[in-house]
Amino acid sequence: MARVLVGVKRVIDYAVKIRVKPDKSGVVTDGVKHSMNPFDEIAIEEAVRLKEKKLASEIIAVSCGPTQSQEVIRTALAMGADKGIHVEVSGKDYETLQPIHVSKILAKIAQNEKVDMVIVGKQAIDDDSNQTAQMTAAVLDWPQATFASKVEKGDKEITVTREVDGGLETIKCKLPVVISADLRLNEPRYATLPNIMKAKKKPIAKVTPKDLGVDVSPRITVVSVEDPPVREPGVILPDVDALVAKLKEGGHV
């Protein structure tokens, strides 16, 4: 049975209307509702299903961030993860934390915990990077199965159906492996009340990037964060010639 590490990120809730800070340094996060990245919910759900099928033995939920990140770890525990690891990254370090850092952190923990599978959401809904799974696999030198919409586990390998631009691609990977979960992989369960109560007793260990030997110094500087331009109203044109003229006028062709 595989030992599974699942990365879960605390992000601004998908339903919240994002507001840019007046000083353009970022978006408003104070007092704003946060929750687990939806793709990470799918990742946890997949891990829990593997465990229910007796294909996984232990699920470790990991989150990198400030103290509040423990909330998403708790949600993961309530969904069925066995234990949590909170990698404490706060303040300025957190603002510039990038997939390059997170992938090294996850890789180190994966090695420490001797896991066979790392499952993460394909991307986080705040930065849309879609890099962590790929970079983690590279650091570990493990095969990667990204945009997974179906995962079947054999004894020492997995068969994954991936959603790619051209359609669906099916690949086989040897364990250990890194998987990134796509939207249609599964439908995450609600955390039932009995599981929420059980989760109270599950441990959450706290470590720092330093403990893991990972340097989280910033590799980027945020220059400015702005709203996208306001959408212009459309115009109905009489024919194709008028369309081409308008496009040329706007410098689009």
Binding site: D13, V16, K33, R74, T192, L193, K200
Partner: protein
């Protein structure tokens, strides 16, 4: 923006405007709140209007609510429950009621009246049969009121006549929530009318018992997803082992259980009020008159402010009463205050929401009218507010 577009935005929008509350829930309660809110948004909100229109019981949704552990919130783990507290019931009920007022009623009464009482005073065998063996979407009822005995509980005339190793029950109970679909009921009957309230005894009665029939389903103004009817008992034999608590101790059991029930109904009122307030705010930001969104007018702002404050105040009272319920000391006054404040807040807020929506508040295209109808019951059941005020007045006088 056209009315059609506003409708579309509001009916599809998933607003999360719960940013006002000052009280912090524990992580477990927050997780529970999240589960319930997500469930209500996905499974209840989209069908609430239809349930109301068709007067339909949400059977499938109740089963799912059971799967989440929400039909056994405060039942001991031994009997398949979660052993959680009254605040958990309040949090769960509020979120469910925010999705569908009627479903909130079903879940509130089942947890706070039926489960709560049996779990509190039942014997091991009683709990095994009437809690432990409840699975999936099984529901219980609390049959106290009668056509001639509402506020005047001890005027009840359902009799329990001893007969060997059982009692024979005869009479009619009214307004029994969940009776049309329930598995069992706590039925209050008197063993001796001359003893007045000291004759009242609580009995555990499976609804499949011989002699139990259901009256016609009540046609209600609101909470129409919650099924209620009369429970008619005709020579119903109930084993002596099914006496809940002591013979003659039923009145006290009912009164003390109502302290919990009032928290549950208060929570339901909060959920309905929250839904109405969110609707009013969303609408006022979209609807334009004289070239401006109506939320920019003082008239609307002042009204929203009044609504918001009453909701917040009521929520704190409900949560306080919930916390006190689980402590040994009596908290009748606090429970009554919570129920009074929350129900009046709900009727005030739903009234105000219709006013803000104007004509659109009056038609069923928008949920405002349904919230208004759903809210009204909260000032009536679990003890009419007039009685609540008497209880509170008496308590305040006695304390000082």
């Amino acid at each position: 923006m056209s009315m059609k577009k506003i409708l579309k935005v509001i009916l599809n929008e998933v607003p999360n405007k719960r940013s006002f509350s000052l009280h912090t829930l524990s992580p477990e309660h927050r997780l529970l709140q999240k589960t319930c809110r997500d469930f209500a948004e996905t499974e209840l909100k989209p069908i609430a209007a239809q349930l109301d229109k068709e007067h339909k019981f949400p059977a499938r949704q109740i089963e799912k609510i059971g799967d989440l552990g929400l039909l056994k919130i405060n039942v001991s783990e031994q009997y398949g429950g979660c052993g959680h507290d009254t605040l958990a019931v309040a949090v769960a009920v509020e979120e469910i009621a925010r999705g569908c007022g009627g479903t909130g009623s079903i879940v509130s009464i089942h947890n706070a009246l039926y489960n709560g009482l049996v779990n509190r005073v039942g014997t091991q065998e009683q709990k095994e049969e009437f809690l432990g063996r409840f699975t999936g979407g099984d529901l219980g009822c609390f049959a106290l009121s009668e056509p001639e005995a509402g506020s005047d509980v001890s005027a009840m005339s359902t009799t329990a006549t001893p007969c060997g190793d059982c009692y024979v029950l005869n009479g009619t109970k009214s307004w029994v929530t969940n009776a049309p679909v329930g598995k069992a009921a706590v039925v209050f009957a008197t063993v001796d009318k001359t003893l007045k309230h000291k004759g009242i005894t609580a009995f555990l009665v499976p609804l499949s018992s011989n002699g139990v029939t259901l009256g016609k389903k009540d046609e209600k103004l609101g909470i129409r997803a919650s099924p209620t009817c009369n429970l008619i008992l005709d020579e119903v034999e109930v084993p002596k082992d099914n006496v809940l608590g002591e013979v003659g101790g039923g009145f006290v059991l009912a009164m003390t259980q109502l302290d919990y029930a009032r928290v549950g109904i208060g929570a339901q009122a909060l959920g309905i009020a929250q839904a109405a307030l969110e609707l009013a705010v969303t609408f006022s930001k979209q609807r334009k008159t004289f070239g401006q969104p109506i939320c920019s007018y003082q008239a609307v702002k002042l009204r929203l402010a009044d609504m918001a404050v009453r909701l917040e105040a009521a929520r704190l009272l409900v949560w306080r009463a919930a916390a006190l319920c689980d402590r040994p000391a009596k908290s009748t006054k606090e429970s009554s205050m919570a129920k009074l404040a929350a129900s009046e807040a709900a009727t005030f807020i739903t009234h105000g929401a219709i006013q803000i929506l104007g004509g659109m508040g009056y038609v069923s295209d928008m949920p405002a009218e349904r919230h208004y109808r759903d809210a009204r019951i909260t000032e009536i059941y679990a003890g009419v507010n007039d009685i609540q005020k008497l209880l509170i007045g008496d308590a305040v006088i006695q304390e000082n």
